[in-house]
């Protein structure tokens, strides 16, 4: 009738008790194999199938309490449940057929990889500044969450300090690009397991850890990062990848001058310290340097901005610095060193890697610092104050 016909789940499993009376379609295997797993990990494949304008399992079309539409017995195929349909229908019936996947061990990297590919192809959320795991209940493959409010708070704070809208937009875009690069890398490189297998462990605060890159780069050098891809060069590409980051505001607003997002004009210096949400999140999280690429990291945190900039360089002891910009969300494994490098740079009188969103200076500073450990002889004043990471010992 006016309902779409849905395949019968029981029939596909081989046991539908309704037989011919069944109101669902007894066809074989129209659904992709991921059905057995129900819940929408691969639900994406359903998206293009039989889009149901009425929405599966939606009572809303029936305004009254009675299930009028369902009273129609001829309408065999009104599906009150479905496993997934990304169009509009919410499908609640995605039972957790698998045991709680806390034990997902990524024993088959190929499968994991495929899961990642499918996820990225079909279920990329609109908000890109997010962590990600290819498997529910598993630790993150990509760390480094930034929430809407954090981004907004930083933007408002920037505005209060006089930054123009355009530079705020640029900063956000840089952040976004770095994140997209991370996702790209996860997609491209052989999958080697989530960032940290010991997620359950509580990390002493604030020595948080971050290692988004290690698993992805295990293929190459250890503790490596994404190749020297300039996120600027990807600007065009990543802009097309779904995030709505286009500069379209200039003409609309008279934002040549510093904007104030809110009515308050107080220039609070709250965020001048490292309480900036982003910076905070990115605060100089340390991590005990670990050699093993993936597993031993306990991840619960990512270091952004300066941290990441410095740490990135530090990690790649002799490798080129990563393209990630200042606010890059490229969480790397910052060895304890990287905190030191700040001290070093300060001690040296170089411009400290303070939380300035926008200077590329840091990168250079950092590069210098990272070689500290490789130097044979230290000049007084540049002796690191902390022990070198194990890598160097």
């Amino acid at each position: 009738m006016h309902y779409k016909k849905e395949p019968c789940r029981n029939f596909q499993r081989g046991s539908c008790q309704y037989g011919e009376r069944c109101k669902f379609l007894h066809v074989i295997q129209q659904q992709p194999k991921s059905n057995a797993f129900g819940f929408g990990t691969q639900a994406s494949s359903h998206q293009q199938q039989k889009p149901n304008p009425f929405g599966f399992g939606v009572q809303n079309n029936v305004q009254s309490k009675g299930a009028n539409d369902f009273g129609n017995k001829q309408n065999q195929f009104k599906n009150t449940w479905t496993r997934s349909s990304a169009s509009s229908a919410p499908s609640l019936r995605q039972p957790d057929n698998q045991p709680q996947a806390t034990n997902h061990q990524c024993t088959d990297p190929e499968l994991c990889k495929r899961t990642i590919i499918e996820d990225f192809e079909h279920e990329r959320p609109l908000w890109k500044l997010t962590c990600y795991s290819h498997w529910k209940n598993s630790p993150c493959d990509i760390v480094g969450d930034v929430s809407f409010e954090e981004l907004r708070a930083t933007a408002y704070d920037d505005a209060k300090h006089g930054l123009s809208l355009q530079s705020i937009v640029d900063r956000e875009r840089n952040l976004l690009n770095s994140k997209l690069v991370e996702f790209e890398n996860l997609l491209r490189n052989p999958y080697t397991g989530p960032v940290g297998s010991t997620l359950a462990q509580q990390i002493p605060f604030p020595t948080a850890t971050a290692t988004a890159f290690s698993p992805q780069n295990s293929g190459r050098s250890q503790n490596g990062f994404p190749p020297s891809v300039s996120s600027f060069s990807q600007l065009g590409a990543s802009l097309n990848s779904g995030s709505a980051v286009r500069p379209s505001i200039e003409s609309n607003n008279a934002f040549g001058q510093p904007i104030s997002f809110s009515s308050s004009a107080q220039a609070s210096s709250v965020f001048a310290t490292n309480n900036i949400p982003l910076a905070n999140a990115f605060s100089f999280g340390n991590q005990q340097p670990n050699q093993s690429v993936a597993a031993s990291f306990s991840t619960s945190m990512s270091s952004f901005s300066n941290s990441s900039v410095t740490s990135t360089a530090l990690n790649q002891f002799s490798a080129p610095v990563v393209s990630t910009q200042n606010l890059s969300l490229s969480s790397v494994q910052p060895p304890a060193l990287f905190n030191v490098s700040n001290l070093i740079s300060k001690a040296d009188g170089q411009s400290a890697t303070d939380i300035q969103l926008g200077s590329n200076l840091q990168r250079k500073i950092v590069s210098g610092d990272s070689s500290i450990w490789l130097k044979e002889k230290w000049i007084p004043g540049e002796i690191p104050e902390e022990a070198p990471p194990d890598a160097y010992v």
């Binding site: 309704y18 069944c22 129900g38 819940f39 929408g40 998206q47 399992g57 939606v58 009572q59 305004q63 009254s64 009273g71 599906n79 009150t80 449940w81 990304a86 919410p90 609640l92 019936r93 039972p95 957790d96 996820d119 079909h122 279920e123 959320p125 609109l126 908000w127 997010t130 962590c131 990600y132 498997w135 529910k136 209940n137 993150c140 969450d145 929430s147 409010e149 981004l151 907004r152 708070a153 933007a155 408002y156 937009v169 997620l199 359950a200 509580q202 948080a208 709505a244 980051v245 286009r246 609309n252 997002f261 809110s262 009515s263 308050s264 309480n275 905070n280 999140a281 619960s300 945190m301």
Partner: protein, 350 residues
Amino acid sequence: MSNFLTATTLGNPNPNKSFEVSEPPNDSVSSLSFSPKANFLVATSWDNQVRCWEIMRNGVNVASMPKASIMHDQPVLCSTWKDDGMTVFSGGCDKQVKMWPLMSGGQPMTVAVHDAPISEMAWIPEMSLLVTGSWDKTLKYWDTRQSNPVHVQQLPERCYALTVKHPLMVVGTADRNLIVFNLQNPQTEYKRIVSPLKYQTRCVAAFPDLQGFLVGSIEGRVGVHHLDDQQQSKNFTFKCHREGSETYSVNSLNFHPVHHTFATAGSDGAFNFWDKDSKQRLKAMSRCSQPIPCSTFNSDGSIFAYSVCYDWSKGAENHNPATAKTYIFLHLPQESEVKSKPRIGTSGRK
């Protein structure tokens, strides 16, 4: 829907014909909270204000009257009422919590501080404590009469979401941690799990029967999670707030206080009512022209308040303060929308 947000002036902000609250804030609303005792609504906003309206309901007519407001120094992110319905707590980017005895006309005073913006808070009547979660990765419990917290609980990551139903408390943090606390023993994590969803946690809501909680993420998905190991088979996730290939964030999860069904609100500007026990959507409301960052039921579930305004889900670029509009709407849920229904399918699959 790439023109979704740019067309804020074109799309209908109120396709559901909800009642519009008068004198909304000048910038986006970050939280909405009804008094537990009466129909007083508090909204916190990015314009640094905490506003209160009295909502009067007469049958199907609803009227709102602005009552009072206070200001913070920075955007306010969260709010909660004390159980006596006399006092409101609010906190945000200024890293402080103000206690405002608004019903008695008192002045606000600062009762809590953190090292970073306070993203979530809840009043726990059974303990007479305020719990606050912050981006400084701690939870702090406050007896409002003392300036130091009663207890500081370290979190693995920044607090993004919080829900309390004594003695169950669930905290969602960055990087998909979900930490469950038994408030009878708040110093110990009862359980820590990794989210059943694959992306950033956005909101959590504890079941009224305390058996588990809901978790919503930015990927347009909600997870239903039971705490008891024996009930793990009842866990499931479902997709929502998606449009075509676009996947919007689920910004708010609210249980109906009476029927124990729940509502979701998302960045797609829609809100839906669901029944987790029969696993169905009870009602899908029409999409508003802007995202819905927050929503709440009143104490008896007769009013559902939601805000339609920009939630930053597309960054600073899509924020135009000159033309941005903020709305707060009140929807009177019909029984069919929020009352549990048996699944039509299961009872014989007619």
